[in-house]
């Protein structure tokens, strides 16, 4: 019964969370024309943790920005939560998509708690005591302590910045969460802690997660599906073990090189991913 109810909340039940069709991204300079994506297709179903991997310059972050509506594609369509992506930026967008930027993008003039509360406060209808309490709940959900709320972003460590930014992304309980390099720049301990946190939040909040990452540990610990962007399109989007088995030079280099050996060990260690 819980599942039925949950279905009814989303704008279009049964529709994929993100649906990208025949996407073209072309960047033009006076001298040259770069085709980054060519007829790229990708769908993300509810409840998935989809990782996008690819070489540098393959347009992973561009893809993420296009899903967010920060950049518009040259050709093709992107539907997010069943709606064209252009309609997402309206008021209350924070209740549809949460985004964790690579460097957190916390507002440096606000304290941590004010940062987390910002999307709620911008609704301008909620009493400030309620906003404060709701922000405090999210602050602790991501593993920060209540007293961290009064700190300024400049006083936080890298891991704490990511956690605070994650709390801000989740403040309105969006069904879709986008992560850009969630563990980049974190030490292994904080990185592991953050991955554990993401996994538990994914389970508890029934989130759909799309992330771009280079970190193989993160990739295998979190992803239920991996989409590989190469040759200007998604060459394969499948479960981790099927992706590794896929024959392509990029995949061979990325997964089966020196790092890949470690990756394979990890794959055995984390049956969750497979």
């Amino acid at each position: 019964m819980a599942e039925e109810l949950a279905e009814a909340l989303l704008p279009a039940s049964g529709a994929p969370m993100v649906d990208i069709r025949k996407l073209w991204s072309v960047f033009e300079t006076p001298e040259k024309r770069f085709v980054v994506h060519q007829d790229l297709d990708l769908t993300v179903q509810r409840g998935e943790v989809l990782s996008i991997v690819g070489g540098s310059g393959s347009g992973k972050t561009v893809l993420l920005r296009q899903i967010l509506g920060l950049e518009s594609p040259t050709k093709g369509e992107i539907f997010v939560l069943g709606q064209p992506v252009g309609q997402l930026g309206r008021k209350g967008a924070a209740s549809r998509i949460g985004m964790l930027f690579q460097h957190g993008a916390l507002f440096s003039a606000f304290s941590v708690l004010e940062n987390i509360a910002f999307p709620l406060r911008e609704l301008r209808t909620l009493p400030s005591a309620l906003v404060r309490e709701a922000a405090m709940v999210k602050l602790q959900m991501v593993g920060l302590k209540p007293e961290d709320g009064d700190k300024m972003p400049s006083d936080l460590s890298g891991g704490m910045i990511k956690r605070a930014a994650l709390a801000r992304a989740l403040i309105m309980d969006p069904p879709l969460l986008l992560l850009d390099e969630p563990t980049a720049g974190l030490d292994p301990d904080s990185s592991d802690g953050f991955v554990t946190l993401l996994r538990s939040l994914h389970r508890e909040l029934e989130l759909t997660v799309i992330m771009v990452t280079h970190d193989l540990d993160t990739l295998f610990e979190l992803s239920t599906r991996i989409a590989v962007v190469a040759d200007r399109r998604v060459i394969v989007a499948a479960a981790p073990k099927d992706v590794i088995a896929f024959q392509h030079p990029f995949i061979h280099d990325f997964f089966l090189g020196e790092r890949g050996q470690r990756a394979m060990e990890l794959l055995r260690e984390y049956p969750f991913a497979v």
């Binding site: 008021k91 709620l120 309620l130 709701a134 709940v137 309105m172």
Partner: protein
């Protein structure tokens, strides 16, 4: 079991969060309906209606959440607060909702009471303000001292000086400021000449316009106008540049490399402004005089030839020296104040904005103060 309403084909769900009271054997049963989410609460006046509906309810009553469309953490928070932060004894809910409410229950903390302002608090705040101002003064004096030491270092080893920086600053602060200072100077000259010409004509003292314009522009207004323009234009730029270097850790990187901030950042700027300021001041004065000369010709019929011939008699040469030395001081002060506020910027955007504003306001104020000081001092000396 009856078919739930949402399975009926004509069912159109109503997402508006609301409370319905239903008679039940144990008294009144409160049914929570609709989407209890932050996005729904964003509707104007909805929360007010909802709170009116919630008034008088408590955890002692029977609650039924199982028919709610959705309950997010904000909605759960609202209910939890309404229940007085305790679980109702009679509560029907779905496992998913239970999980959300349990998280809210676990993490809700009692907010600390806001501190009231007391006399003691205000007194301490005043003390903190005085100490803060004292700290500013101290670090400004230290900056001046450091500049003097750096100039000594430079004199001993001139080949190691930051000469490229110096010429760059001279170009950016000086050469690029020529058009704007010319325009402002010219217009001020025109306005001043028109205003005084009307008064002078009443007394038939037309020829004295040369004296008035000469003294006012060369001795006071020229240097002052130039200084105020440069303070607004370059003082702010200096603070912003150094401030951004703080925000992006560039200042720390320099220190790690063993490069002194004051030698590489403060000294070239102070030297550049000390060189540029008198030049800009002379340029502004010339443009203002040209404007005044033109207006005097048009309104009083005083020809430029007469104006130029009468000027040396009206303004003694001492005024030029005074104006130039004043400008050197203004330039150094603007640079030092700009650097002072730039170096004190904290690594956040708010502080950067505050520092830039404070820098411009302080440098303009200081320029006017020092100008007044010069006026008083040199009146006594008699130049």
């Amino acid at each position: 079991m009856a078919t739930p309403p949402w399975m009926h084909p004509d069912f159109m769900p109503d997402f508006t969060p609301r409370i319905e009271q239903q008679p039940a054997p144990e008294g009144v049963r409160l049914r929570v309906l609709g989407q209890w989410t932050a996005a729904q609460f964003a509707q104007p006046r909805l929360l007010k209606t909802l709170r009116a509906g919630l008034a008088g309810t408590s955890a002692q009553q029977a609650w039924d959440l199982s028919e709610a469309e959705q309950l997010d953490h904000v909605g759960a928070q609202l209910l939890w607060d309404q229940w007085g932060r305790q679980w109702p004894s009679n509560l029907a809910l779905l496992p998913q909702q239970k999980a959300v409410l349990e998280r809210v229950a676990r993490f809700t903390v009692v907010p600390p009471k806001p501190r009231k302002t007391t006399w003691m608090g205000s007194y301490l705040a005043l003390g903190a303000w005085v100490l803060h101002a004292g700290d500013h003064l101290k670090s400004f004096v230290r900056l001046i001292g450091q500049l003097a030491l750096n100039l000594g270092t430079l004199a001993r080893a001139p080949q190691e000086g930051p000469w490229r920086d110096l010429t760059g600053h001279i170009y950016r602060i000086g050469a690029t400021a020529l058009p704007i200072t010319a325009l402002v100077g010219f217009l001020i000259g025109v306005v001043l000449a028109y205003l005084t010409s009307q008064q002078l004509r009443q007394f038939g003292a037309d020829a004295y316009i040369v004296n008035i314009l000469g003294i006012a522009l060369i001795r006071e207004l020229g240097p002052m106008l130039a200084a105020i323009l440069i303070a607004g234009r370059s003082g702010s730029a200096i603070t912003a540049q150094i401030g951004v270097m703080r925000v992006t850790d560039e200042l720390d990187a320099m220190r790690v490399m063993g490069i002194s901030h004051s030698f590489r950042l403060v000294m070239p700027r102070a030297m550049a402004l000390a060189v540029v300021m008198p030049l800009i001041s002379v340029w502004t004065t010339l443009c203002a005089l040209a404007g005044g000369m033109l207006a005097a010709d048009v309104s009083l019929g005083i020809t430029p030839t007469f104006f130029l011939n009468a000027l040396p008699q009206a303004v003694s040469i001492g005024n030029l020296g005074l104006a130039t030395s004043k400008s050197v001081v203004f330039g150094m002060l603007i640079a030092l104040i700009g650097c002072h506020f730039g170096l004190r910027v904290q690594p956040n955007t708010q502080s950067l904005g505050e520092g830039t504003t404070a820098s411009v306001v302080t440098s303009i104020t200081v320029v006017i103060l020092v100008d007044a000081l010069f006026a008083v001092l040199f009146k006594e000396v008699g130049i």
